[in-house]
Structures are given as structure tokens and as C-alpha cells.
């Protein structure tokens, strides 16, 4: 997934902001439960993910996430899902005839 590095950086920023912790701490301890990942912080991060990437996350999947890497995968998957399929910009299927 080519956009994963950019997504990863933003996801880390957002989690760091929500937890008010330096990114190095997140990288050193990537398990979210090791931090103050309570409902307030998680909903703050959810709001920021959805706003920054223009996505809507499934709350069950969001709460199933345990680590920073899993969160990156979840967000990147949602970002990829909203992108149009590569190589087909045709709208012919939608044109009324």
C-alpha cells in the first residue's frame, strides 16, 4: 500500500496528540493500553482520523485495535477503500441513456 507511510505518520501524530505523549514513547510502547487510551482519548483520535482522512471507521473494528500498527492498518484500509479503483476513470456505467 503506497500511501501507508504518510498514513502512518499522521496516525502516529493523532494518537500522540490525543494521548498528549511524545511519539518516541508511542514507538517504544506501541500497545495502546500501555498509555492512557481511555474512551476520551480514543474518541478524540477517532474524530481526528475521520476528519483528516475523510473516512468513517467501524466503531467495533476501532475498539478491537490493540496497537499503533493495527490502527495504522485500520485507517489505511479505510483510506484505500474510499479511493476510486485505479485505471478506470470511466463514468459510462452511470450515464443515463
Amino acid at each position: 500500500m503506497s500511501e501507508q507511510p504518510a498514513v502512518r505518520s499522521t496516525v502516529l501524530d493523532i494518537i500522540g496528540n490525543a494521548l498528549n505523549e511524545p511519539l518516541d514513547d508511542l514507538r517504544a510502547r506501541p500497545v495502546l493500553a500501555a498509555h492512557d487510551w481511555d474512551s476520551l482519548a480514543s474518541l478524540e483520535a477517532l474524530a481526528q482520523f475521520e476528519y483528516r482522512f475523510g473516512i468513517t471507521l467501524d466503531l467495533r473494528a476501532f475498539h478491537a485495535v490493540r496497537t499503533v500498527d493495527q490502527m495504522v492498518d485500520l485507517v489505511a484500509g479505510a483510506v484505500a477503500a474510499k479511493s476510486p479503483p485505479a485505471g478506470d476513470g470511466s463514468l459510462s456505467g452511470n450515464v443515463a441513456r
Binding site: N17, N20, S39, L43, E44, A47, Q48, Y51, R52, L59, H63
Partner: protein, 617 residues
């Protein structure tokens, strides 16, 4: 770094430096509509601690029937952007029904504002059935409960209670499969909201925001079902931001930060086109779009003027063609007389605005500028960052919304003086012309034949006096802003005196221009605050009032009167009031004292004082 990160960095620098953000940063923050950014800004500003006086403080308690979510952060961002320093306490989850009637809002003492976030759960049973009559009975009973809670709360607090109308959730409405029943349910819900709105008519301390109306006109969802189910969060961030914006308007008006002057550009703002290029007959005004958009802006500005907002014309044009166009164009609604000051010339606008402020005797921070030129707006922002700017470029269809949406001119209540303000300020201009006929200021003041009347406040003057307390920043001796409830309570208490004073002269009747709040001890009277409208500064009115107060105190058997001056950074004009009135001091904490034994009367000889002490005992 993008604009959002730059803004957060500027706010962070202010927080870390323990100083108020620059006015330009506050303006940028005020224009942010992105809740995600404002959440971050509000969280960051939670660490903003300032030495006294940099920003006026406001203490807010938040009570909610569900989860507050990011409301605290959004509200803080909005309040700081309005130039306030908020201290916000959030009530515990699930305690609304207890905290409201007991007024147990805040550990840090009685707040200034209690912002309530209500949702349908307050009015509906958990498991309701689609029986409209049963539902009606329950909703009406819960509304009666809420009325009782509000009344109980008001007996224990002097805070302003801010509540709002409640949207009817789609999942309730759509549960009724009969269209007739859905209409009846909607009617029931409208009556509930009407009942909520009536609370503001019943209690002067209560403000009801029309959240339903606001959300109907906003491109945001009221609810995110996921967050509602997961966290009992009844509103989306976007909806909470709209609510925070409305609460900010109340806090801003309550703190006396409302704007009083609207400075309007002419070309491509009050009409379409450039007068100098197309002539008066060629400008777009009235008729079909886009001329109707400019006409509506003139109507909107005219309505603001009817409510006391002063209009200033600021246009880079030759004055004669503008004068001709304003008087001869058949569609012009705002003729030359609508403007308290007209600055039509080729000089830079910041200088014109400064001069208009001097003419009106108002600070530039009471100005809003509406202009289509981004260059002019940027120039004014750079030189006069306290002036709020409204962009008039883009599609003219949005002009009225751009002007009115932010609520720059909001007040809690309108008084007669508000409505007469444009006329009063025209009288001020007449005073300026009259004064030029005299050799000395004293000759001028003698010729004015100034009449001052002081009398204890009545139910008719309490609103005006409370408004003066809220809005007067320059001649405000202690900065203590007694609101309507506190003023009325003190007026009814024999241990206190609240008096209002009016001023008239041969040119104008200024109405109620000032007030004083006094604690009446047996030996010593303590002046808690004196405020006076800047319209009458420089005529010695306050000295005549000080003389009146001394006589009242002496007649009541007191030996001394004490007064205080607390510098606010904006009240320097009143710094020497007590010494001028013959008070000695200051001693500790800015306290001045007048011994009533043999004290000279400081009243100026050009003022005739009409005393009304009949209700004093």
C-alpha cells in the same frame, strides 16, 4: 507547516509564555470552523494561565444530560477567540438532575455561566411506546420538572443559566409509522421547545439558545449514532461546535465585549460595482440578483442601526459623487444620515477608523469592518488588530450571513438607550461643533446647561444599569460587573445602595449614563463600583455624582466613604477619579477614603444636580 499547525504553534507559544495570544491569532482562531482543529486548540488552551488583567476571566460550568464529549474544548477555543479567559468545570456524568437544582455546579465557587447540554433523554422515558397521549403526559411532566429545577437553581446562584432547544431525533420520529401521528409528535416536540424558550421570559437569569434552529441551518449532522450508542454522546462535534458558538455569543455579550460600531465599505459591499467607474446609475443595487443581495445587506445594516449599532462609512472615493449617489439613487436605503461618521477619502483605512473612533469617543476594539478588499482587511488587521473584520468578497448572496452570523453586536437585552444610540452619537457630533464656539472648556460646559439627576434604581432602570456594568470598560472603577440579578438584589437590600444617573443638556438628553453600587455600613460607605458611559466623559458628571454620594452618606450618619480603583488595562481614563473627587489615598489595594467631616463638595459649578433620594432611608 500548514495554517492549522501554525495557528496551534502560535497558541502553544502564548500558553508556554504565559501571555495572551496576539489579537491577530485570536481573530484567526475565531474564524476556524473545523471542530477537529478547535478540539486541539481548546485542549491546548486549557493550560493557558495568565497574570491578571490580560484577558477578562469567565467561569463556566457545564452540565449535561448525556456525555459532554469535546464540548469543553470547543467552548474554550471559542471563548478564548472572543478575548475571554475561561475557567471551565464539567459536572459529573449522570448528575444533571441533582446538580442543576442544588446549584452544585462548580467546586471553585459560583460560576458566571452554567452551560447546559440537553438531549431528548431528559424528556422521554427509556422505553417509550408509540402512544402519543402517554408520551405527551410524560414530556409535559418532565418539562415541569425542568422548570422546577431551574427555579430551584436560581434561588441558589447568580450565574446565567444557558439552556437550549432540543432536536427531535429521527429514530423517535420515524418510529411512528402513521404520518398523522408523526405530525402530532412533531407538534408535541415543538411545544416542548416553546416551553423551554418561555423559561427565558420567566427568568431574567436564563438564556435559551435555539439549537434546533441553528442546526436546521448548518451543514452538520446533529448526531453520530455510533458515538451516541457507544458513549452516550448525543451530538456530533459539528453540532457541539454550533452550540459552543452560541454560548460564546452569550458570554461575549455578558462580558461587555460586544461591538458597537459597524464600519462599512461602499463599492462592492453596500452596492455592486465601483462608483468611480460605472457612475451612480451603473451600480448594482436592488432589483434582481446580484443587486438584491446588496440591498439586503443595506437592510440588515439598517436593522442593526435600529438596535443601536453605529454605522460608519469608510470608502476610498471622492466624497461628492458618493454624497450624490447616497442621496439620489432610488434604491439606497442607507442615506448619508444613517452614518454617524462618514470617512470618504483616499486616506488609508486604519487612520480613518482611528479618527472615527476618536469622533465617537469609542475604542477601535468596538469596531467591526466589513470590506470586500482583502488588501484593506489585511491592512486594518495589521495596524488595528482589535478591529474585527468581515469579508464582503465572494458571492454577494452571502453578505448578510457573513455580517450577522458571528453575532458581533449581540447584547443580552436591548434598552431604550440602545435604540437611541445612533441619535445620541449624532448629538455627540453636535457637541463637538458647538464646543468650537467657545474660548475655554469651562465656557462651553457652562453654556451646555448640564443637568444631572441621580436616583436609586427601579425595576425600570435595573436592566440598563446591568447593561452599563457589562459593557463599560473605560470608566469602570473596579471592573466588577454586577449583573441584573445581583443589581436587583442589592437594590432591594437596605444594606446597599444602587443608584443610576442621567444627564441632559441643551443639545441632547443622554438618558441613563452611569451607575454606582455601594455597601452602606453604619459608619462607612464602601463604593463597590462606579461605571459611566464614555459618551459623557469630560463633563465632570462623575464629580457631581460623587458630591451627591457624600451628601447621602453624611445624611445617613456615616463618617467616611471608601472607594477603590482597580486597573484593568482599559480604565486609565478613570484612574484619577477618586483624588479629583477629594478622596485621600490610595492606601493598600487601591483604596481611597473621603472623610465626611468638612469635605468640600467636588461638584463642578456648571452642573445642576437634581436629587431624587426619596426612596433612601
Amino acid at each position: 507547516m500548514d495554517g492549522a499547525e501554525q495557528l496551534l504553534a502560535a497558541l502553544g507559544a502564548a500558553v508556554d509564555g504565559g501571555r495572551a495570544p496576539d489579537p491577530a491569532v485570536l481573530q484567526a482562531l475565531a474564524h476556524v470552523e473545523d471542530p477537529a482543529l478547535l478540539r486541539r486548540a481548546g485542549r491546548l488552551l486549557g493550560r493557558l494561565h495568565l497574570p491578571g488583567g490580560q484577558l477578562p476571566p469567565v467561569r463556566v460550568a457545564i452540565l449535561a444530560t448525556g456525555t459532554v464529549g469535546p464540548f469543553e474544548h470547543l467552548l474554550r477555543a471559542r471563548l478564548v477567540a472572543a478575548g475571554l479567559l475561561p475557567v471551565i468545570e464539567v459536572g459529573d456524568y449522570g448528575t444533571f438532575d441533582l446538580a442543576l437544582p442544588s446549584a452544585g455546579f462548580a467546586a471553585a465557587g459560583d460560576p458566571d455561566i452554567v452551560a447546559c447540554v440537553l438531549d431528548e433523554s431528559l424528556f422521554l422515558p427509556d422505553d417509550w411506546s408509540p402512544d402519543l397521549e402517554a408520551l405527551r403526559g410524560h414530556v409535559e411532566a418532565r418539562l415541569a420538572d425542568l422548570r422546577g429545577m431551574v427555579a430551584a437553581s436560581l434561588a441558589r446562584t447568580s450565574a446565567t443559566l444557558v439552556l437550549h432547544t432540543v432536536p427531535l431525533p429521527a429514530e423517535v420520529r420515524d418510529a411512528f409509522i402513521s404520518s398523522r401521528a408523526r405530525a402530532a409528535l412533531a407538534g408535541l416536540w415543538c411545544r416542548l421547545n416553546a416551553g423551554l424558550l418561555e423559561l427565558a421570559q420567566e427568568h431574567r437569569q436564563v438564556v435559551i439558545l435555539d439549537l434546533v434552529g441553528v442546526l436546521a441551518d448548518a451543514p452538520v449532522a446533529a448526531r453520530d449514532d455510533r458515538l451516541h450508542r457507544y458513549a452516550d454522546l448525543p451530538y456530533t462535534d459539528g453540532a457541539l461546535l454550533r452550540l459552543a458558538t452560541e454560548v460564546r455569543r452569550i458570554a461575549q455579550a455578558r462580558a461587555g465585549l460586544s461591538r458597537k460600531v459597524l464600519a462599512l465599505d461602499l463599492d462592492n459591499t453596500l452596492w455592486g460595482g465601483v462608483l468611480g467607474e460605472v457612475g451612480a446609475a451603473g451600480v448594482q443595487l436592488g432589483g434582481l440578483y446580484p443587486g438584491n443581495a446588496y440591498l439586503e445587506l443595506q437592510r440588515a445594516a439598517g436593522r442593526l442601526r435600529q438596535q443601536g449599532v453605529l454605522l460608519v462609512l469608510t470608502s476610498k472615493n471622492d466624497p461628492e459623487p458618493v454624497q450624490r449617489a447616497l442621496t439620489s439613487h432610488p434604491e439606497v436605503l442607507l442615506g448619508p444620515d444613517a452614518f454617524s461618521v462618514r470617512a470618504v477619502n483616499w486616506a488609508p483605512k486604519p487612520g480613518n477608523l482611528r479618527q472615527a473612533a476618536d469622533t465617537l469617543g469609542l475604542p477601535v476594539r468596538s469596531f467591526v469592518l466589513m470590506d470586500d478588499s482583502s488588501f484593506e482587511r489585511a491592512l486594518v488587521t495589521s495596524e488595528l488588530p482589535e478591529v474585527a473584520v468581515v469579508a464582503a468578497d465572494g458571492d454577494p448572496a452571502h453578505l448578510v450571513r457573513s455580517l450577522l452570523g458571528p453575532g458581533w453586536f449581540d447584547v443580552l437585552d436591548l434598552t431604550d438607550t440602545d435604540r437611541r444610540r445612533p441619535e445620541l452619537y449624532r448629538a455627540r457630533a453636535a457637541h463637538t461643533a458647538f464646543s468650537r464656539q467657545f474660548g475655554s472648556p469651562e465656557d462651553y460646559l457652562e453654556a451646555l446647561d448640564i443637568q444631572v439627576e441621580v436616583r436609586p434604581v427601579s425595576e425600570f432602570t435595573v436592566p440598563r444599569v446591568a447593561q452599563l456594568a457589562a459593557r463599560t470598560n473605560q470608566f469602570n472603577l473596579t471592573g466588577v460587573r454586577f449583573d441584573e440579578a445581583a443589581t436587583a438584589a442589592m437594590a432591594a437590600d437596605p444594606g446597599h445602595l444602587v443608584a443610576a444617573f442621567t444627564v441632559s443638556d441643551r443639545l441632547a438628553d443622554e438618558g441613563v449614563v452611569g451607575a454606582l453600587w455601594v455597601r452602606r455600613g453604619p459608619r462607612s460607605w464602601q463604593v463597590l463600583n462606579v461605571v459611566q458611559s464614555c459618551r459623557v466623559i469630560g463633563r465632570g458628571v462623575e464629580l457631581a455624582v460623587a458630591g451627591w454620594l457624600a451628601r447621602q452618606a453624611r445624611a445617613a450618619g456615616a463618617d467616611a466613604v471608601e472607594g477603590r480603583f482597580v486597573p484593568s488595562g482599559r480604565n486609565g481614563v478613570a484612574a484619577d477619579f477618586w483624588p479629583r473627587a477629594g478622596f485621600a489615598g490610595p492606601v493598600a489595594d487601591g483604596v481611597y477614603t473621603l472623610s465626611l467631616t468638612g469635605a468640600a463638595d467636588p461638584s463642578p459649578k456648571w452642573i445642576t444636580l437634581r436629587e431624587r433620594s426619596d426612596s433612601l432611608t
